[in-house]
Amino acid sequence: MPTIQELRQALFSVQKPGRYTGGEPGSVLKDKTKVDLRVAFCFPDTYEIGMSFLGEKILYELLNRHENWWCERAFMPWVDMKEQMETLGIPLYCLESKDPLREFDIVGFSLEYELCYTNVLAMLQLSGIPLRAADRDERWPLVIAGGPCVCNGEPMADFFDVMQLGEGEQMLQDICACVEQGKKAGWNRERQLLELAKIPGVYVPAFYDVTYGEDGRIRAVAPNRPGVPARVTKAIVRDMDSFPPPENFVVPIVGTVQDRASVEVLRGCVRGCRFCQAGQIYRPFRERSPELISGCARTLCANTGYDELSLMSLSTSDHSRLEEILDRLNAWAEADHVSLSLPSLRVDNFSQSLVEKTSRVRKSGLTFAAEAGTQRLRDVINKNVTWEQIERGCRIAFSEGYTSVKLYFMMGLPTETMEDIKGIADTAQQVVDLFYTIPERPKGKGVQVTCSVACFVPKPWTPFQFCAQDTRETLREKQKYLLSCVHSRKIKVNYHDSATSVLEGIFAKGDRRLGAVIEQAFRQGSFFDTWEEFFDYDRWLAAFKACGVDPDFYNYRAIDLDETAPWDHMDVGVGRAFLVREYQKALRAQTTPPCNRQCSGCGANKLLGGPCFAYDQDQL
């Protein structure tokens, strides 16, 4: 624990010191002499981003419900604080007890996006914990990871003792119980890991050997200990109502990105957009009941004092009983001074009554994800949205008084041509034109259409995992062409340099050989790679060179349909056969209906042990 004096010295010269002091309402304090297990829940990005993350709130509450466990939080300190801590010799500490991470039994990281990998190493180093799992025995904390990136965690395999594939509600509690048992029994690290590997969803990277062919492709991945599963099957919460959403949050004082109460209404997604990793790896689709959602949301608002409630999921409007949820929430929200917001709405079922039920808050902007500029390309990516639906959504929005619309697009999608790029500009122009045809549009105001164009990154466990990523040159050309197609000042185009997307593409589909590269880049000064001002592409290229690893092998190369991918010893539910089928349909621009309408046989239903929907009953 740093002395008050040391801490005060560090806090004296940093921006927003409130990020490093803890003491927020809802944070849990326990007597450390009376707990059996201490968990440091680490988010490898700034406090503002980490505190916006719902997953941490869910697990923080679940773990702290155990009287003899204490789960605390740590975040990546901003550059100024990192420097202070290094200068003053203050090790990275958890906000609740201010105890250094190395005193904990479990140090867990949430891997939400690939570019946070160097921050994980930075946080371990700030804690004085050896970076590589091979260099840590039972005297060191068990360093674990969870989150979507674990669906291909191979690039980080060298650094973690344990990775958690899938949903953490039960798995993390099982891990904690096992570590508590091992601690009391005095197990060594090997024994501990062997016991942990028995827990569904737990992946111990060191227990698998990877062999490579002469062309650098993976020949095989095989367990090297008896009793370790050849494939790790994702952990899943079968019944979403069996784990109620959190009824309390740590309420940040320093303004964070998402600073409101939020309740996860469903998990998984029925849509099957072919570019979307979340839509595949969180399958199958499971809903929470309106009664539970409303009850827990009300308690959450009462406990935290939040005046804004957000309904979270990959696609909230796909909840089969959304109207009932909103009616239940609206029954108390106004009296409790809570306003509702619904992110993740889709244009195709965005209705008048939805707008009315949620528009008590101030009108700002509306966002529609069109993803591609032409119907052909939207069919390729299986984003089953038509211009008529976008038009309908915008028409409702404009009539309701909105004057700015944001459209999300991607570029660099498989089969994309310049025609499709022009389609982005055309779609935006059509929205502008639409505005002026609506008699009840807000008067005296112009319309603003913002197109946010992201660079597509092929991700594992999607039908597009087989595809190569567009090169930076191609993307630059497309960006330039798009700008030349825009002829109105009412249309604003946002895009960013593709260098970070390239690195994201490499890590997403990478294998274990990238561990050395990540460590090299980190040792040469890379961290906060998600922050443009700290991202140094050339330093990364130098790291690849120094390690003798060809980055293009990972993202600029198409994977054969029968090739062993680095992530094939994971099982997230959806099967290879389904991904191949979807990929081939994509090349033919054939769509696949949402899975609540017709099962497309992705294979994820085996995790539930039966069909995901009662197709014989008319649910829709």
Binding site: P17, G23, P25, I253, V254, G255, G305, H337
Partner: protein, 216 residues
């Protein structure tokens, strides 16, 4: 319309809550509480909320306050305290909620208790010996050089058991227009004697009006 003063202390971790964040926290808690506070009547109505003489980051206080308004003349202010306190950050403790007796513009001075490290004793002596103690004050209008002796001709150091000492000072502190002097400037002037600002604690203890009476 009644002006209600919420008096609170801001200590420990709460010392690092900026005014901006504090305002946000209070706004949210007040709105959520449903208490009959007055909302401005503009295009985007928001709660009328005004903090008096906000502290610098890292300083503590046992005499902070803010003001809200209410149209409800018979509001049960004890209930207000119960409604607000549970949601406050650690270190913010509401001391009193009551109708404002005086206007915040009457605040003229603040008293601070400074806890200094062992080198502080010498720093205080050096201060008292100097005919002039010039410090630079940054304002929106630029930099200004001030002589601290104008306000503090001499300091009284009260030695503490564990080494170090305590100094109590009264400095100009105005809620609106008027002179303001941050005690951090005094601490900065101790630097040549080896007293670093982060070795010191600053606790604001009382506020005073022009006639020298305590502002509550």
């Amino acid at each position: 319309m009644l002006t209600i003063r919420i008096s609170f202390e801001k200590r420990a971790e709460a010392a690092y809550i900026s005014l901006l964040d504090l305002q946000r926290v209070f706004h949210r808690i007040l709105k959520r509480s449903g208490l009959p506070v007055y909302y401005t009547q503009g295009f985007n109505p928001h709660i009328y909320l005004s903090f008096n003489c906000p502290l610098s980051l890292g300083q503590e206080s046992i005499c902070e306050s803010c003001e809200v308004k209410t149209a409800d003349e018979n509001a049960d202010l004890n209930a207000w305290q119960d409604a607000l306190q549970p949601y406050m950050p650690h270190g913010i403790r509401i001391l009193h909620i009551g109708p404002a007796q005086r206007k915040s513009t009457e605040i003229q001075a603040a008293e601070y208790e400074l806890t200094l490290p062992p080198a502080g004793l010498e720093a205080v002596e050096a201060y008292n010996r100097s005919p002039q103690v010039l410090v630079e004050k940054k304002t929106k209008r630029g930099r200004r050089e001030l002589d601290l002796k104008t306000w503090l001709p001499a300091l009284q150091a009260e030695p503490l058991a564990g080494g170090g000492c305590k100094v109590t000072v009264r400095l100009p502190c105005a809620a609106g227009e008027g002179d303001n002097l941050n005690p951090a400037l005094l601490l900065a002037s101790f630097a040549p004697c080896g007293v670093q600002p982060w070795q010191c604690e600053i606790l604001r203890t009382r506020l005073f009006t022009a006639d020298g009476s305590e502002f509550r």
